[in-house]
């Protein structure tokens, strides 16, 4: 048996409409749907995603890299100056006191 839907069959169309009534959409229905989608998207963004989004911004990435390099170089310079001064001091003291042992 072959059943075919005939869109011109007004009787059948009328019955279908009656069986699945389409109510009126509530006011601002679409806005509420978008707001829900937005909220879901916001919840799914983790801290990792936020940091990653900063990393790809060149201004922020280069700024942070420059800050890290300056801080590391400053720390290295302070440690190096201290180590160099200690080495030079030990050399002087050893020149006047052969028994001196650097600590």
């Amino acid at each position: 048996m072959k059943l075919e839907f005939d869109p011109t069959d007004e009787k059948l169309t009328g019955l279908l409409k009656a069986a699945r009534p389409m109510g009126e959409l509530a006011p601002a229905f679409q806005n509420r749907v978008w707001q829900r989608i937005e909220r879901l998207e916001q919840k799914s963004e983790t801290l990792l995603d936020r940091v990653a989004s900063w990393v790809v911004i060149p201004r922020i990435a280069f700024g942070a890299l420059a800050a890290v390099i300056i801080a590391a170089a400053t720390l290295g310079a302070v440690h190096g100056a201290s180590a160099g001064a200690t080495e030079a001091r030990d050399r002087y003291v050893a020149s006047v006191d052969p028994a001196y042992m650097p600590r």
């Binding site: 989004s53 170089a73 302070v78 050399r91 020149s95 006047v96 006191d97």
Partner: protein, 165 residues
């Protein structure tokens, strides 16, 4: 691994690598700069001495070195004598006498060194000279004091002083 995690990992590797390069580069540069120069370079930097003050100190230093070398030679010779005396199984009295002479030579050497430090300190501005003298005494004589204190403080060393109760 998510895309965000990969991005952060790459950024962290770049940051750590650059920081390590900057740290070690700056450290090496500053260490070699500070340690450069002759034995007296540290004095000029540390005590902010003028060229004329350094010239005077250099003269004192060069005058002191032959005396120091001579004293070191005498101490080494006496040390050899002590070792020979002990090895020959000579009497305790003669070994004691050698040890006293060795100790006296070491004390003379330290006294000569102190006199040199005082001379050098007088060639510096008063405040710096005071600081220099304190620093040299701490570094040279303080080292021996530390050893003596540690020997006196340790109850298990076997060298503690056993006073009367």
């Amino acid at each position: 691994m998510t895309r965000s995690a990969k991005l952060i990992l790459i950024a962290a590797i770049i940051a750590v690598g650059s920081a390590a390069l900057a740290y070690f580069g700056a450290m090496h540069f500053c260490a070699s700069h500070m340690a450069s120069g002759d034995d007296l370079a540290w004095l000029q930097r540390e005590f902010r001495l003028s060229d004329s003050e350094m010239q005077r100190i250099r003269q004192l230093h060069e005058g002191y070195l032959p005396k120091c070398r001579e004293m070191c030679g005498r101490i080494a010779a006496k040390q050899n004598e002590v070792e020979a005396t002990l090895a020959n199984g000579a009497s305790t009295n003669s070994a004691e006498q050698e040890l006293i002479e060795l100790g006296t030579l070491r004390a003379e050497c330290q006294a000569q060194m102190l006199r040199h430090f005082e001379e050098v300190s007088r060639a510096m501005p008063a405040e710096q000279g005071k600081r220099y003298l304190a620093e040299m005494q701490r570094l040279t004589l303080g080292f021996h004091e530390q050893i003596e204190n540690s020997m006196g403080a340790s109850p298990h060393s076997g060298h503690g002083h056993h006073g009367n109760p």
